[in-house]
Symmetry: C2
Subunit: 546 residues, 2 copies
């Protein structure tokens, strides 16, 4: 069997090696239009920041190894420009010598990735405006910064790559501004979680301009970035990171069915609408495991695993079906980590999935052991308890908790399962009740009806006449700031002073993180009050406010 | 309802607070024979090591808070010495004023914990021999070391507490020897995994005497610890940490049913054989979720969660059944972390549970991003793929992977689920194929029959006449050490040189960690050879050899 593969990185190289392991007989040709294969896309920002210092480190597997060890006919600088499905051939343009030739196939695997979006704005083609996708992109940015002795950078778009680039440019000593159209960075987080990152980025000297569009660029003695609202900011270098679009040009021209966002449509074996053509990676749309809907999740983990499965399936002997993607992602920003899995609240709302939510702010490990720090966590769950998504931000132990939650989500777990999870505990690592257990407890308490909650985004619109807003923290804590119109009865005197609270109005109780508010709610409910506790407490509210 | 609770720490205090949240009406009296309640047992070794510096930090919740916030009648220095089940009373001895009184109950919750084993050896009561369980134990050890200006310590028993104490005594500047009857430390790990820790402990100056029993102590100008084989070693201070026994004295005297190891027998609601008496924590036996057998798992996570459930169940309104314990545990030893969940190989063998196993040694995060280190991981799984247990040792990201595996195990996951897990990936945190995925891939490859494996413990007994032992690493690697009698053909020339291998004998291939051996196996199998790959490679073999 002769298998051609288009694209030599996560999905493509991964399919090629797996295919070889499954079949010594297959003839495998890997086409890569660029100079490099099997490179570490995800490491590129860190090369620019000087964290990764050696160029070799950006290449995970050398072409020579794919040739010698896997007998893969690796052809770099070789762009597949056309697929002829009738003849079962592709047309290849050799960028090294300019030749063009055809190559026949029995099966074809497409893993062309995605292309950074480049909006059609005035001045967009000026020198000094870059996108980052490949190794040569990286070298170009690096060289340009050196050559021009760049001092200021504007990053357009505050997604993962934008934020990573902002951090790395800052680490390199540039003055960095991020311009973002939305009101927040990292869209996979909900705004109140992203707010924690915003603060950390600002503390680390990154300027953030949210709700701001770029209208064009002007080249003079350096670049000027023209913003909505008639502002402009100077920049020696601009990084465009406003997202990627699936690279489906070839597939489209070959008449293959396309899906969401112009992606290549595949079934759950990664076959396209042509059974002899498979596709994986950033170019395809995938099934979101929470909703079952097709969506775009351009991440390296899924791309690699899809490549592995396509490498099996293309042989036709053993078919492994894909189980979908959940979108687990993590980001380092200076000393902080943010991670998430599944759907966020914005997505659940947009897709009209019924959900509830809970916030906790536990310690990363036992507070009595040195070095712990506070985590902020959010869990989204269905009325029947099913985990729908989770987000966490903090300095330590963040991705561990999201990995655990991602595992529970993948296995169809519920908040009741989270209550039971038995995770590793010793003081340097966690608490006897792990933060993930705490999410489970608080969520299950809501579903079992032990406590009713209200949320930070309802606080401002609560009619202070119709409800009693009750701060159960200490007077000292209240002095540092409390909610408008809140009465104060510290938890520890609540039983004595309860009669101060009118019984004919619901009580909206709150504390710093939600625990004392919950205890207050349990006391009051049993005394005949209608009570709501502010999930995540004043901390979630005030963080969300920015 | 009047509920008495015996024991004021993990299980007891946790039951009391939960019970109060569920019922404002209940009368709750908490008896603790010692001076302190709600203390951080798990933090005690770190106080001795000077890592935790403030005494206050060892108390998680002050009795005053349990009184004011939870209206719990906390009685310290109050030992429950007898239960009268007929009369539904307990007899309490007040150690502060010497009085003895009775207290009646509707329901009784026992969480008396466990007692450190203290073998009946000559000289065992000499000054300077300690066990560590409570806050006063800790202060005593601390004071003794200061007072005697102790320079040498012998720790008897290399379980979790023994190893933590050895580390902390070493950090404090003492010369430390661990004496252990078994051939390894940390019995929850299998020996080849524990071997990694042994090396690290030795590198950090801890002396390890395995296979060595203590026969007695002699007090002279300091202590002498008398060992099997007529040896003796001097010690200024001795820590006995040879395990704990469930404290079931009260329960036994009250005629309650006992179970494994003299533990208090409970059903899955934590009721004892007397429906008005519940028991939780280290004193009870629990259902191991892998086998369903009753066993002892004295850990703080389970004790806390059991307390929480007992606090519910005792009220009789809403009954929550326990789902068993899996025994997830983690240990810090100097710069290393070791963690495990589920059953180990020794236990599976002893209980005749059919299993297979796989080893991997992946990088803690992407190798191209600075600071990664090698993990050593072992997965035990059933013939149908069910996860039975997992172990990991390394410098970074160890407990994260075991937490993920613990979650998968708890939710009934299989190795095929591990292949699919979508965990957080960015270069500082993991690889696109996470180490847990790698465990899944290698395990599933075995079960699907893509590769047959052999293990480090079969190597020495392989008949070199009847098999071809094949090292597929490079000649340079072979020079650093290889298996006795191994032929060498580097993987990358295997296809060319295959004919050197006799076809009438099985090939036992190996490499450094197992990956190249697997690739070799795939090549050879497809060329008609009968092949086995050494799981975990030469690294697992040589580590196991010590
Ligand atoms: C800067 C950066 C940071 C990232 N960080 C992370 C991260 O931390 N975590 C994470 O999970 N993901 C991250 N990603 C995303 C991840 O790299 C991608 O999801 C993954 O590489 C997708 O794999 P793929 O095979 O689909 O595409 P790619 O890896 O992009 O490979 C596609 C290849 O196909 C080639 N190609 C395209 N068309 C043709 C053609 N017609 N002929 C021949 N060759 C062709 C391209 O040149 C390209 O090399 C990051 C991406 C970037 C750019
Ligand atoms: C040094 C050390 C380190 C540890 N490290 C870890 C770790 O890192 N991770 C982990 O998971 N676990 C660890 N543990 C184990 C953990 O502390 C226990 O599993 C947990 O505390 C058990 O809770 P419990 O309520 O059953 O018993 P305990 O916490 O021991 O509480 C029992 C209490 O009951 C009191 N009591 C007993 N009998 C009576 C009576 N008749 N009347 C009144 N009071 C009575 C005792 O004085 C004691 O205070 C460690 C234990 C020790 C000693
Ligand atoms: C490296 C690359 C070529 C894939 O190579 P690969 O050989 O398929 O994958 P890995 O090196 O990750 O190894 C995984 C394989 O080794 C096996 N393996 C790993 N450790 C093993 C061990 N100790 N023993 C036995 N087998 C082992 C796994 O089972 C798996 O094989 P399988 O798929 O047949 O089950 C491809 O992933 C790539 O190009 N990556 C770099 C680009 C990239 O991913 N960029 C985006 C992220 S930065
Ligand atoms: C501390 C101790 C008294 C238990 O107190 P507790 O109030 O039950 O438990 P925690 O403080 O851990 O808080 C957990 C409770 O707060 C709730 N909670 C936690 N964070 C919350 C938040 N942000 N919002 C709302 N509720 C929250 C949880 O849901 C849980 O309540 P529930 O059981 O009713 O569901 C007991 O665990 C103890 O004595 N521990 C120290 C001893 C010990 O464990 N030693 C061994 C290990 S070192």
């Amino acid at each position: 069997m002769k298998v051609l593969i288009v694209g030599g990185v996560a999905g493509g190289a991964g399919a090629a090696t797996r295919l070889r392991r499954q079949s010594e007989d297959a003839q495998i040709i890997l086409f890569e239009k660029g100079e490099y294969i099997s490179y570490a896309n995800c490491g590129l920002p860190y090369y620019i920041g000087g964290i990764i210092k050696e160029k070799e480190k950006l290449i995970v597997t050398q072409p020579e190894l794919l040739r010698s060890r896997f007998r893969i006919d690796v052809r770099t600088k070789s762009e597949v420009v056309k697929i002829d499905r009738e003849k079962k051939t592709v047309t290849v343009q050799n960028h090294a010598d300019g030749t063009v030739y055809e190559e026949s196939y029995d099966k074809l695997i497409l893993s062309p990735g995605a292309v950074p979006k480049r909006p059609n704005l005035p001045g967009i083609d000026s020198e000094g405006i870059f996108t980052l996708r490949t190794v040569p992109d990286t070298y170009q940015i690096d060289a340009y910064i050196k050559e021009k002795n760049a001092k200021t950078a504007v990053v357009v778009g505050a997604g993962f790559i934008g934020v990573e680039m902002a951090e790395n440019l800052k680490e390199r000593g540039l003055d960095v501004t991020i311009v973002e159209f939305l009101d927040q960075a990292i869209a996979s987080l909900d705004p109140e979680m992203a707010a924690i990152l915003h603060r950390h980025m600002r503390e680390n000297g990154i300027k953030l301009l949210f709700g701001t569009g770029v209208q064009g660029f002007e080249k003079g003695d350096g670049l000027k970035v023209k913003l909505t609202g008639d502002r402009e900011i100077p920049a020696d270098v601009v990084i465009l990171s406003i997202g990627v679009a699936p690279d489906s040009r070839l597939a489209k021209e070959a008449g293959l069915e396309l899906g969401v966002g112009g992606s290549i449509q595949v079934d759950d074996t990664f076959a396209t609408s042509d059974p002899d053509i498979f596709a994986v990676g950033d170019a395809i749309s995938v099934r979101q495991i929470v909703t079952g809907d097709k969506t775009l999740i351009p991440l390296a983990g899924p791309a690699n695993k899809q490549g592995r499965l396509a490498g099996d399936n293309v042989l036709g002997q053993r078919i492994t079906k894909d189980s979908g993607v959940q979108g687990s992602a993590v980001l380092k920003v200076f000393d902080m980590t943010a991670a998430s899995t599944g759907l966020n609240e914005k997505q659940l709302k947009a897709q009209k999935v019924p959900y509830q939510k809970t916030y906790v702010h536990p310690s990363s490990h036992a507070g009595y052991y040195p070095g712990s720090s506070q985590l902020s966590m959010k869990l989204l769950f269905a009325p029947d308890g099913k985990i729908l998504g989770a987000q966490a931000v903090g300095f330590d132990g963040v991705e561990k908790r999201i990995d655990v939650l991602a595992t529970a989500l993948r296995l169809g777990g519920t908040v009741y399962d989270l209550e039971k999870l038995e995770l590793c505990y010793a003081p340097p690592y966690s608490s006897a009740k792990d933060p993930v257990n705490m999410l489970g407890f608080t969520a299950a308490n809501i579903l079992r009806g032990d406590v009713k909650v209200f949320h930070f985004d309802e606080v401002d619109s609560l009619d202070r006449e119709k409800v009693t807003l009750l701060d159960v923290r200490t007077p000292d804590e209240m002095k540092m700031g409390t909610l408008d119109g809140a009465a104060g009865i510290p938890l520890d005197s609540l039983r004595e002073r309860m009669s101060e609270l009118p019984k004919n109005k619901p009580v909206y109780a709150f504390c710093q993180v939600g625990l004392r508010g919950y205890l207050a709610a349990r006391i009051l409910v049993q005394n005949g009050y209608d009570v709501y506790n502010l999930s995540g407490g004043y901390k979630t509210y005030i963080t969300a406010k920015g």
